[in-house]
Subunit: 199 residues, 2 copies
Amino acid sequence: MALKLEPGSRLVVATHNPGKARELAEILERRFELVAAGDLGLAEPEETETTFVGNALLKARAAADASGLIALADDSGLSVAALDGAPGIYSARWAGPGKDFAMAMRKVEERLEEVGAEDLAAWFTSALAVAWPNGPAVVVEGRVDGTLSFPPRGDRGFGYDPIFTPQGLSQTFGEMDPAAKDAISHRARAFAKLKAALL
Amino acid sequence: MALKLEPGSRLVVATHNPGKARELAEILERRFELVAAGDLGLAEPEETETTFVGNALLKARAAADASGLIALADDSGLSVAALDGAPGIYSARWAGPGKDFAMAMRKVEERLEEVGAEDLAAWFTSALAVAWPNGPAVVVEGRVDGTLSFPPRGDRGFGYDPIFTPQGLSQTFGEMDPAAKDAISHRARAFAKLKAALL
């Protein structure tokens, strides 16, 4: 077998996050027939790894082996320099079971106040993994650097987007047009690497 | 870039274990110019992941990014069914800083006695990762099933080889001719997958 993704292939997308699924579908440009892991009745495995790529790989592997289809998974998060990279792989968990990112963004602001940090540098990371059933897997990582600002601005995007302004721009990810965000985001950069490797 | 390994490529091998390096060199059949990570002065990163593939990936990524060369890393271990998969990713750590596998094998025997296990089923797993500098990575996993026996037998191989007899055979990995072991081992199976994917 060769590590190629043929256009039109059926791909399981191992994300249970509707915002991410929408972005993945847009970035994949209808090249593939996407099937959601949830629609196949696949459970979400616990994210036990300590890195973004490790967790993406774990999710893609579980979905591929359980479904018999090639699977794509993503793991991503916000890392804050002054918080030693937190929330990082725990970005989703800071929002709790109710996925309350307003609360998670307040938590970031509070932690920055606690440590008295003036440095607002932060970056988003997106790791993508494509796994073949009982076969190999390919992983890539993309990153976008930027600055945090409070209060949150904009109701587009999802997660921590309203407090993150990418380097050289003035709008937060939460304010940006989805197409403009997709052109420069961590996820888009990871996809560019994945396409270069597999298409 | 395409995910291909051209024969003759220079590859950093991110292992500091001489036994593994020997096996990797034999299995790679002199297809590549191998450079040891230690010879490039690269430090061994801490193995913080919870899976074999996660740790192999972490080591390959670190070596590739630090050296600017394509890097190959391996993570492997023995999993004992009656011990819920232990020592697993902690296989090397059970041998301590002095790499005392005689002690590690006694520890396996003692744990089996403690739990009163009659089931001696076990398997070796080998995860391999190939990482391109600041680029994608490919991971594969190979496994060989077998049975434990005590006391250890044979002084070939390394690690837990003297207590592991592969399914359908009578010699332990420690007694087998290296070429015979290489034909069926977890590492050979992982390499077969890697070759199919990349060569």
